[in-house]
């Protein structure tokens, strides 16, 4: 029997659902690169409409698309969670997230009130229904540290969304008795650290050991890193609401947690039991290195733009690592599960060499982005490499999907013929 109470392939979201999320994410990545090319001079002011449009293209269009898609895929496998009606539920989330992101980005640029209300409805629906669907099922299982962390991350996402919706109502003039700046600070801290950081921590607790045969994280560390982070965020939110002027000092705990997790993960990767010929591990190394540097720059208060750049590199590298793991696996596994034993092997779906080339291009894009914080003209080079990175990722997903459909159409289907 299954220890995880019985996963069936029918209960996992079909491959096309995950691919739609990933294709949306990669398209927004290409769009974000183009935005960076044209708007990089205006991005140092975090209240600038173009900055808000760019940041939300990255956080919602790219990261939320990939992260929710990956969660719909991983939760049945990692947590043994059954998501009911996976096709309808996840497709609705995907469409609402896709169009909601477009509405929000265009709203930031032109300020149209109609777009604000459309954003309110579509993103509110997408993100609440995604968190509700997943949290409802996660409540029923016996938690591992990874699944507990995912529940915490989803809760933080829901809080970030509630606050974002309040901010939209303030902008629309529907409500007026809340402090916009306080809400904004709480919103982005919950979104960046509660949602993105805790989710990446939770995923790494599960997959670093599983994928790369590294030693396990200490269980006390795995349990408390996510709890400490969310508790700190709640204390920060309370201090902010009671107008404590020094509330941001408490965030030092989170900056220390980012450094701790980055260094611990890099240490575990260094101690892996076998040499791994896989670009995805290098995406993790880039990600964790950027995370460690992010923590240091925040602690030393070096440059907000540099910190934001490092955080983006941290989150995007994990996205690339997960896509290059999940996409070939999904194609190969779903075809095998349906009896297409002449299905392309995983390295034939996405070649190891192609993934390595993409990893180097992302690495170069990251280095140029860091340098560009101090030498503005370098942004043109950085955006070129980001554009190539996301375009390669888009091609990877599209080609994998095409290979899957091609095998379905022309492949030789067999049953296990045992008798």
């Amino acid at each position: 029997m299954f220890q995880n109470s019985g996963l069936s392939l029918e209960q996992a979201p079909p491959i096309k659902v995950i691919f739609r999320f990933f294709l949306s994410g990669a398209i927004f990545g290409v769009v974000a690169s183009i935005m960076l090319f044209f708007w990089h001079n205006n991005l140092s002011n975090f209240s600038n409409p173009t900055t808000l449009a760019f940041v939300h293209t990255l956080t919602l269009g790219v990261m939320a698309s990939f992260m929710l898609g990956a969660l719909f895929q991983m939760m049945p496998v990692i947590c043994g969670v059954h998501i009911k009606a996976p096709i309808n539920a996840s497709m609705r989330v995907n469409y609402a997230l896709f169009f909601g992101t477009i509405f929000l980005v265009v709203y930031f640029i032109n300020g149209s009130l109609i777009l604000l209300y459309l954003t309110f409805l579509s993103l509110g629906y997408a993100l609440f229904s995604a968190t509700y669907i997943m949290l409802k099922e996660l409540k029923k299982i016996e938690h591992s540290n990874a699944s507990r962390g995912m529940s915490i991350a989803l809760t933080a996402l829901a809080i970030a969304v509630v606050i974002a919706l309040l901010m939209l109502l303030l902008r629309a003039g529907v409500i007026s008795n809340l402090n916009y700046l306080d809400l904004k600070n709480i919103h982005f801290n919950f979104a960046l650290f509660g949602w993105i950081f805790i989710l990446v921590v939770s995923v790494s607790l599960q997959v670093i050991e599983m994928f790369y045969v590294t030693p396990k994280y200490k269980s006390s560390y795995a349990k408390y890193i996510t709890i400490t982070t969310i508790t700190t965020l709640f204390i920060y939110a309370i201090l902010t609401f009671i107008n404590c002027k020094e509330s941001s000092i408490i965030l030092t705990i989170i900056y220390l947690a980012t450094i701790a997790h980055a260094l611990y993960t890099l240490y575990n990767i260094k101690r892996k039991k076998r040499p791994v010929n896989d670009a995805t591990i290098w995406f993790w190394v880039i990600s964790m290195s950027a995370l460690a540097l992010f923590g240091v720059t925040m602690l030393l208060n070096i440059s907000a733009t540099l910190s934001a750049t490092l955080f983006a590199i941290f989150a995007l590298s994990v996205v690339f690592a997960m896509v290059y793991k999940i996409v070939p696996f999904l194609v190969w596994f779903h075809l095998n599960a349906q009896g297409y034993f002449d299905a392309p092997m995983m390295h034939e779906v996405v070649s190891l060499k192609y993934a390595r080339v993409n990893m180097w291009i992302l690495f170069i894009a990251s280095i140029f982005s860091i340098v560009a914080v101090y030498f503005n003209k370098i942004y043109y080079i950085a955006t070129f490499f980001w554009f190539i990175s996301f375009f390669m990722l888009l091609l990877t997903i599209y080609r994998a999907w095409h290979k899957y459909l091609h095998t379905l159409k022309y492949g030789k289907k067999m049953n296990f013929s045992f008798n």
Binding site: L9, P76, N415, F418
Partner: protein, 86 residues
């Protein structure tokens, strides 16, 4: 009964699953597949379930998973679980 054994404890993802599916193709009514793994291989068990195979997975005290799969639904696979890991 013929046993096809795979110790996947130190193999990185996705090698255990690839090797396991290759092994499943070799099975007949007089054989079973036996895998040792550090994690419960949920996708493999989902696939076995999808194809109506007889399977069991047990977590032993040493932290290793013992997974047995056979096309023969008449055999009690739990009886073949080894007390020691190798």
């Amino acid at each position: 009964m013929r046993e096809l054994f795979l110790d996947a404890r130190e193999l990185e993802h996705p090698t255990p699953l690839e090797k396991a599916i290759d092994a499943l193709k070799e099975l007949d009514n007089n054989s079973y597949f036996y895998m040792l793994h550090r994690k419960e291989p949920v996708p493999l068990l989902a696939l076995a379930s999808e194809h109506n195979l007889n399977f069991t997975s047990k977590l032993k005290d040493d932290g290793n998973w013992h997974i047995l799969i056979s096309p023969n639904s008449d055999i009690e696979l739990d009886n073949f679980i080894k007390l020691k890991d190798s």
